[in-house]
Symmetry: C2
DNA sequence: CCTCGTTTTGGTATCGCTACCATGTCTCCC
DNA sequence: GGGAGACATGGTAGCGATACCAAAACGAGG
């Protein structure tokens, strides 16, 4: 009449469980749980004993079980669009790291920027049980996608939007200040005839960068009107813009492109015309993408801590979802992180000032 | 004496569980489980009914519970080193996608290529409960790291190693064939004076590519000795190699660099010397990394399906771990996937043959 | 000394799912 | 006809952890 002996379901060596630790430490599983999760109401003595046991046995909590019991283990989505952003790599590293830390799963979904495609992507996310979504650029600018996600009652964190959207959480750098700083740097080097290549018009970051540039020019005063061309953040568009900027005399002595890909295009075009960078023409970019260090001369640019931003986005998402479940108000949070100007070889004093 | 009414632990609306589906479909939870997991021994009629119910209720299985119950949910590690590999982004996408499909967690760990650093990284992985590791290049070449991991009884899949290591599973392309194909392409264009830049000497892929190049030259016969320089897969090393190749007359009419970064360096140096690519000098690379399409002219190169390879690596890992638990022999598997030559603008017929 | 409140610990009932076994039902073949 | 086998379904008992409650230990105040 005794219970049948239960043989371990999987033949393999089981891993250390909370019970093993409890037995080893001579306390109950609950106490171990409290210690491991940093709960209060544990005496220092027990805490020491338990931690000792944990270390001895090499215990690491089973995420699945923990998630199941605590009804946690939400899935977070990462909706990415144009992978031209060499963002993606670093972004993923940061996001995945944070996800692992919180014990949530990260679900990737690719999405074109058409309404139909975004609707499909959102449906897939919903089907995947996702409760919150990180939106890296350029998707974070799409009101359509945000609306679509909001309709599915998802939390959203937009990353690196130029201006924080009113309807979502957001983590970004200060594009305005960064562009202003970079422009001031060029002016300090002695450049006076500047060229600027704008970013894609439907991304708010483009406008912030442009405003930062304009502000620095304004503050400096006494300068000829800068020459401005429209770009679209692609290499090709940068090439077109560079051709226009370098076709009319007097040539600018420095060109500020709104991202690195376009700056690389400017350098390519300059070389083609026999202009030497940085001496004949200074070129600076924005983003510090992979290409920046992998061309010659290296590109002076603005570095964004992408991995950190992605990580914080996931943090915010987790906090919002867990907080929200406990009824805390989910007011949109906007977090700004520090950027950094990276000085490489592509900008120097102009010939005239040498 | 009746059981206390259990109030749902989290105030929030519970999600649909397998029981809900079972009740709705009028079958037992077990049957639902079998349908959802594609098990056998379910009649078509019941299967239809259940799938209908699943769709109606928008049921999505709880991963945590599933993993817990089936003692699955292993964690897989992804040990990455030199992020110069613009591989990483695509690699992560592929790996994460596969991980999500299998319901395993992916743990990222960065690691320098020194013995001390790798030991530390492995220890962190072990502590994280990781049971298998994907090794993208260049870490997959490090015998030290492989030994270290093996000592911790982890399964390993090396990705894109030139020659499959004897002690690990492996997924890669045929570097030899790809390089041979590319060289044949150059020869078919009419080039006769070729230059070659080798990759990092401690990566087996370098040698395979070099052998492929040499084989094509050999097969063609009747050619002047190609000029060869040593590179290290970095932009900078490519620049040095290019300087040497372009310093001695007669100049080569085509240069094959063992990766894209070095090819980009060749193009930069060529431009600096007033050589026009592709008409004065054809340049081809290998990898189809981001930079290949983002320089001008676009780089003709070999495309590796990185995401796919990463995905297959995770698949293999999961299969090995789960199979291994059931006692299946874990013989090392080597899988080769197809590469593709991408023709862009950086290679054309030589002037002399025009 | 007893009550009250706070700190510390343990017991029990799940979380949602699947492994394993038991039970039927139906066909096949000696 | 009846035993063997394939097929189809249901019941039960956990996986490893936490939530919730109860109980024990302790100190303070009346």
């Amino acid at each position: 009449m005794n219970k049948p002996v239960r043989k371990s379901r999987s033949g393999a060596r089981r891993s250390v469980t909370i019970k093993d630790v409890a037995r080893y430490a001579g306390v109950s599983p609950m106490t171990v749980s409290r210690v491991v999760n940093g709960g209060q109401y544990v005496s220092d003595a027990t805490r020491q004993t338990v931690m000792q046991a944990v270390r001895q046995l090499g215990y690491s909590p089973n995420l699945a079980a923990r998630n199941l019991a605590s009804a946690r283990g939400e899935r977070m989505g990462l909706l990415y669009g144009n992978p031209s952003a060499s963002y993606l790599s670093e972004f993923l590293v940061g996001a995945l790291d944070a996800a692992t830390r919180h014990g949530v799963q990260l679900v990737l979904e690719k999405c074109e920027m058409t309404p139909a495609a975004s609707r499909r992507a959102v449906r897939r996310l919903v089907a995947g049980g996702v409760v919150g979504v990180v939106l890296p650029p350029p998707l974070c600018e799409s009101a359509v996608i945000r609306a679509e996600l909001q309709a599915a009652r998802m939390r959203i964190v937009a990353v690196a939007a130029g201006r924080p959207p009113a309807d979502a959480m957001c983590v970004s750098i200060d594009d305005f200040a960064a562009a202003r700083e970079m422009t001031q740097y060029l002016l300090a080097l002695g450049h006076t005839r500047l060229g600027f290549i704008k970013g894609h018009p439907n991304q708010t970051a483009s406008e912030e960068r442009w405003r930062g540039f304009a502000a620095a020019i304004e503050e400096h005063g006494q300068l000829p009107q800068p020459r401005v061309e429209q770009g679209f953040f692609t290499f090709r568009s940068g090439l077109d813009a560079a051709r226009k900027l370098l076709a009319v005399e007097p040539l600018p002595t420095a060109i500020f492109a709104s991202n690195d890909d376009m700056a690389a295009a400017v350098m390519a075009e300059a070389h083609r015309r026999g202009l030497e960078v940085p001496n004949d023409l200074a070129v600076v970019g924005f983003d510090d993408s992979l290409i920046a260090a992998n061309i010659w001369p290296g590109l002076t640019t603005i570095h964004q801590p992408i991995a950190q931003m992605a990580g914080e986005a996931v943090d915010m998402l987790v906090a919002a979802v867990r907080g929200g479940r406990r009824g805390a108000a989910a007011e949109p949070v906007h977090r700004q992180v520090a950027h950094e100007m990276i000085t490489r070889e592509s900008a120097a004093r102009p010939r005239s000032a040498a």
